[in-house]
């Protein structure tokens, strides 16, 4: 227990939707009237779960509801979730930009938040002045900034422009300078929101490296929020997955990321009712809703619609992982002969060398020899491969952390 850096206890945050106007002043009075009589805020009872896609009956929503998690000292914890899941609200509460409606957070150590790079940058001031201003806003003293000034300029690589107003900077330079200040903060706890979504690839790498450095070598605690799953996987060991303002999972990053990705995109069937000018196209591809079991065939039902007789159609089949990387492919030449109208097939893929996990299909139809594509479907439909039923095979307990394939039959020849 002594090694906790942050302890989040039952944090809830309520927001009121809609415009501020005459109605809200009536609510304010009602709330105040309840408070002076020592009663509970009447609007805290009626909040609803925050799902932005559905129409709600209440003006009040819970952006966060009973959030509990701990962050260990020196740990890099990721917070992931879809847009509107409550990530930013959580970070705002942690960085004291706004306070929670209920619950409490205990923090050990100086905390600095980086919800945005270049907060408080003034376009008319020089790079030098802005380094000082931004550093001070982030909580550094003038002395600290001076001692790190050269390092920051060096990190940003803008030495030549340091006495030019930042409004003359290219947007990349601006961000570099801003991140350089932030990267040289030395708080015990650093809160980082998707600030890495800017800058070129080289600079992003540099930032990630710097953050890794900060956590590993200097033993700082970092809370990291991002939609960039590669960065999350790269940096964090543990993740909190938020959905509609609630924690749905806390645990190892790899499993958390998978859970997040299945949350975002999971449809076990693909349909196309609007083919445009295509003469031959996939009208429907369906995978099993229940998923498949390791070592048993993965079966797709496909329906190809054709406007004419076509012979010797080649079928390409691929399997993608949740990061949309292609992990296995095959092409079957002379696979199909199509007649006008619907052509239904069942495709069965032996799965004994695919490890349990979440996958997506990929399909293509092409002419023989000339390889003109009739139609392609990428990253659909999704399917899941489960562990072996009785879990007796060692292989079936593998997951995608070990790679996606098992090796085909290996021969062991005694000598």
């Amino acid at each position: 227990m002594s090694d906790l850096a942050i302890q989040v206890e039952n944090i809830s945050k309520q927001y009121r939707l809609g415009q501020v106007g005459r109605k809200s002043i009536a609510h304010d009075f009602n709330r105040w009237w309840h408070t002076i009589r020592g009663k509970e805020d009447p609007y805290l009872k009626i909040g609803q779960e925050n799902d932005r896609t559905t129409k709600g009956s209440s003006e009040y929503v819970w952006a966060l509801q009973d959030i509990n998690f701990d962050v260990n000292h020196g740990e890099v914890l990721g917070i992931i979730g879809r847009n509107g899941a409550g990530k930013s609200t959580m970070l705002k509460i942690l960085s004291k930009v706004t306070s929670p409606t209920k619950g409490q957070i205990k923090i050990k150590g100086r905390i600095a938040s980086l919800l945005e790079v270049g907060t408080g940058f003034h376009p008319d001031l020089s790079g030098r002045d802005n380094i000082y201003l931004n550093g001070a806003i982030l909580g550094m003293t003038k002395k600290e900034i001076t001692s790190k000034f050269d390092e920051m300029v060096d990190f940003a690589g803008v030495e030549r422009y340091i006495d030019t107003p930042v409004k003359r900077y290219s947007s990349g330079m601006y961000v570099r300078l801003a991140f350089a200040v932030a990267a040289h903060l030395e708080p015990e706890i650093l809160i980082v929101d998707e600030v890495l979504a800017v800058g070129d690839a080289e600079f992003q790498k540099k930032c990630l490296g710097k953050m890794k450095d900060v956590s590993e070598k200097q033993g700082r605690t970092i809370l990291f929020v991002s939609h960039n799953m590669d960065a999350v996987l790269n940096l964090t060991n543990r993740c909190v997955v938020l959905a509609n303002g609630k924690v749905t999972y806390i645990g190892k990053t790899a499993s958390a990321v998978e859970r997040y990705l299945t949350l975002t995109s999971r449809s076990c069937s693909y349909t196309n009712n609007n083919p445009g000018s295509k003469n031959v196209y996939f009208a429907e591809i369906t995978a099993s809703e229940l998923g498949y079991i390791f070592n048993e065939p993965v079966i797709f039902e496909i329906n190809i619609h054709s406007n004419q007789h076509v012979k010797n159609v080649a079928l390409g089949i691929g399997i993608h992982n949740l990061f949309n990387e292609s992990i296995a492919n095959t092409i079957i030449e002379n696979a199909l002969t199509l007649v006008p109208g619907d052509n239904r097939f069942t495709i069965s893929i032996p799965s004994h060398n695919l490890v349990p996990g979440d996958y997506k299909g990929a399909f293509a139809l092409a002419t023989e020899k000339t390889w003109e594509f009739f139609d392609t479907v990428l990253e659909e439909p999704s399917f899941k491969l489960f562990n072996d039923k009785d879990d007796s095979m060692l292989l079936s307990r593998w997951n995608t952390n070990f790679g996606y394939h098992t090796l085909p039959k290996v021969n062991i020849i005694p000598k």
Binding site: I93, I105, R110, H122, L138
Partner: protein, 290 residues
């Protein structure tokens, strides 16, 4: 989770929905004093960037206001400022009034105009309105310098009898109370405007009108002589005795009453304290409503 309950003393900070009413966290403001200094510097440096005249604008504004007041109120309106020459009289009132009104109006928009920064990073919010008060004091000092140049001109060429005496010792005291009223009133206003913008409108013309019931363009003596029935109304304005005292401290001319000065002083203390209490309450959640 471990069974051992965590000892609350080991946490350096606990974030909860509410704080104690009088927890103003002034220590924290002190810790961020470097930031305060940098904000002051930013205000001063950025305001007239890319202008040719630069800080000269600080003196052009009161100079032209003085000229306009001189013609409108002195020549056309016939408000007598004797024994002080009208330009000096007006410039003196305008400089201290400007200080108050810019402190007040600029701090009153603290939350609304800085929502961008406040929404992204935490630092003691009081630093911003304080920085406004300090950067305005520098502008005020420049305008005061102009006033002394004008006085010097009148001494050299118009035989205006000017003495430097102990009345000067009152000057920092008056400026301090003035700053307090502007700051306190401003942060109260800024707290009110976060949710309901109606106050922004009210404040903008309210300050303009307030000047007319403050002895800026006339003296208290003028009111007492010509319109004695309004005298109590004007004295009830806590800024009135401050303006008079300021004029006394610079020019050696004005009605100074210890009683009214104490009234202004008490008003300032109440405003500042109430302002800080309200401000510290609002700063915790204003991001949700601003």
């Amino acid at each position: 989770m471990s069974e051992i309950p965590a000892n609350d003393n080991q946490w350096s900070e606990i974030i909860t929905p509410r704080t104690k009413l009088f927890d103003l966290r002034l220590k924290e403001v002190w810790r961020y004093r470097d930031l305060l200094a940098l904000f002051v510097k930013r205000d001063l440096a950025a305001q007239y960037k890319q202008t040719v005249l630069g800080p000269v604008w600080y003196v052009i504004q009161p100079a032209f206001t003085t000229i306009v007041f001189f013609f409108v109120f002195n020549k056309l309106g016939g408000i007598k400022t004797d024994p002080v020459p009208a330009p000096i009289f007006y410039m003196c009132g305008i400089s201290i009034w400007n200080y108050f009104s810019s402190c007040f109006t600029a701090t009153s928009t603290t939350f609304v105009s800085n929502a961008g920064i406040f929404g992204k990073v935490y630092f003691p919010r009081l630093v911003l309105p304080l920085s406004v008060v300090f950067s305005n004091i520098i502008k005020f000092a420049i305008q005061l310098g102009l006033l002394f140049v004008v006085i010097l001109y009148f001494v050299l060429f118009k035989n205006y009898p000017f003495h430097i005496g102990t009345n000067f010792l009152l000057l920092p005291f008056v400026v301090l109370i003035m700053a307090g009223v502007g700051f306190g009133g401003g942060i109260i206003a800024s707290s009110l405007t976060t949710k309901y913008r109606d106050f922004t409108v009210l404040i903008n013309f309210g300050v303009q009108l307030l000047m007319y019931i403050t002895p800026v363009i006339y003296s208290l003596k003028f009111v007492a002589d010509k319109h004695p029935k309004y005298q109590s109304l004007i004295l009830a304005n806590p800024l009135s005795s401050l303006i008079e005292t300021f004029r006394y401290s610079v020019l050696g001319y004005g009605d100074v009453s210890v009683g009214w000065l104490l009234y202004s002083c008490a008003f300032m203390l109440v405003t500042v304290f109430a302002g800080m209490v309200i401000f510290s309450r609002v700063e915790r959640t204003f991001m949700d409503t601003v």
